[in-house]
């Protein structure tokens, strides 16, 4: 066996994926070739470290979150804090709802009808055709209002 062929087969050898005859050839070559023996040791080392480093436990609550996202079930042992939305999330939701409600009220509230008046020509001009409804109405003088609502 050549070193080139050895290097092509070494990973399948490490994974026990070669048949008996091929595996024997690889083993014999490594036994006589120091460079390829090091290559074999490196292949084994990488495989072992890949296996060792994968021993992470399942994060807390992941299984419950999966069940909730799929079948919608929650195990009795599930910690409420794992499934519950954080407090700040509820606070944000409430604040957004309040802001929306205030905006909706402000937009939907009817513009106050102009007070019936017989007041001066200056006040009449405010409600004339050229009046901008978005402009803040100028309040009528107190004396005029009293006069208009009086008996």
């Amino acid at each position: 066996m050549t070193c080139s062929l050895f290097k092509r087969l070494v990973d399948a050898y490490v994974d026990s994926e070669l048949d008996g005859a091929e595996a024997m050839e690889v083993w014999r070559h490594a036994d006589h070739c120091p460079d390829c023996a090091r290559e074999l040791a490196r292949a084994r080392y990488v495989k072992v470290k890949m296996e060792e480093g994968a021993g992470h436990g399942l994060p807390d609550g992941l299984e419950d979150r999966i069940l909730l996202a799929t079948t919608g079930s929650v195990s009795p042992a599930a910690k409420p804090e794992v499934l519950r939305r954080p407090v700040w999330a509820w606070g944000l939701t409430a604040a957004a709802a309040a802001a929306f409600a205030i905006m909706a009220i402000a937009l939907l509230r009817p513009t106050p009808a102009p007070p019936p008046t017989t007041a001066s020509a200056a006040e009449d001009s405010i409600y004339s055709e050229g009046f901008d409804p978005l402009a803040i109405p100028i309040p009528a003088p107190a004396s005029a209002r009293t006069a208009s609502f009086g008996p």
Binding site: E17, E39, E51, A54
Partner: protein, 192 residues
Amino acid sequence: MWGDDKESAAVRPAFEEQVRRTSRQAYAVARRLTGNAEEAEDLVQESFVRAYRFYHRYDPNLPFASWLFRIMTNLHIDAARRRSRFRLFSLDSQSEATGAAYEPADPADSPETRLLDQEVDASLNLGLRGMNPEFRTALVLSDVEGLSYEEIAEVMECSIGTVRSRIHRARKILREYLTQSAPHLIPPEAGR
């Protein structure tokens, strides 16, 4: 997705049992595929959501884990292709600066204060992140999940020869990466 009908009621307990039996394996694979806990959790959860949605297509005569891994690896490879941060490269392409087939990440990415095993683990994750997602997936299914080449070929829907080639290339990349970027992590008998 299943509705609230009789079929759904019959499927739920079976699927929940599958989740309990395979979620740990799935997370171990996802950790190596993604290289970090947050992305791994997202990948696992999304894989199970898809598995549940298409559970009516699952053949109960086959291992559920293999079917789940197929979903997971497709999701991972698709995501890796979409994201630009997964730098794809050709094994045949040579780095102009070093002449190496693959330029290692900055060794400073591995904090010196880490313990040796943590450093090896971090280096492996960096090496994995830099490679083609098909190579990475084949290697992780072999080394983390312990699947045979035949099983990996079924999961990845390719030939056994392709699996052998992908694993060989992936492990070669990791060997070169560790040798170039972190030679102090290689034990003496495997050193240059």
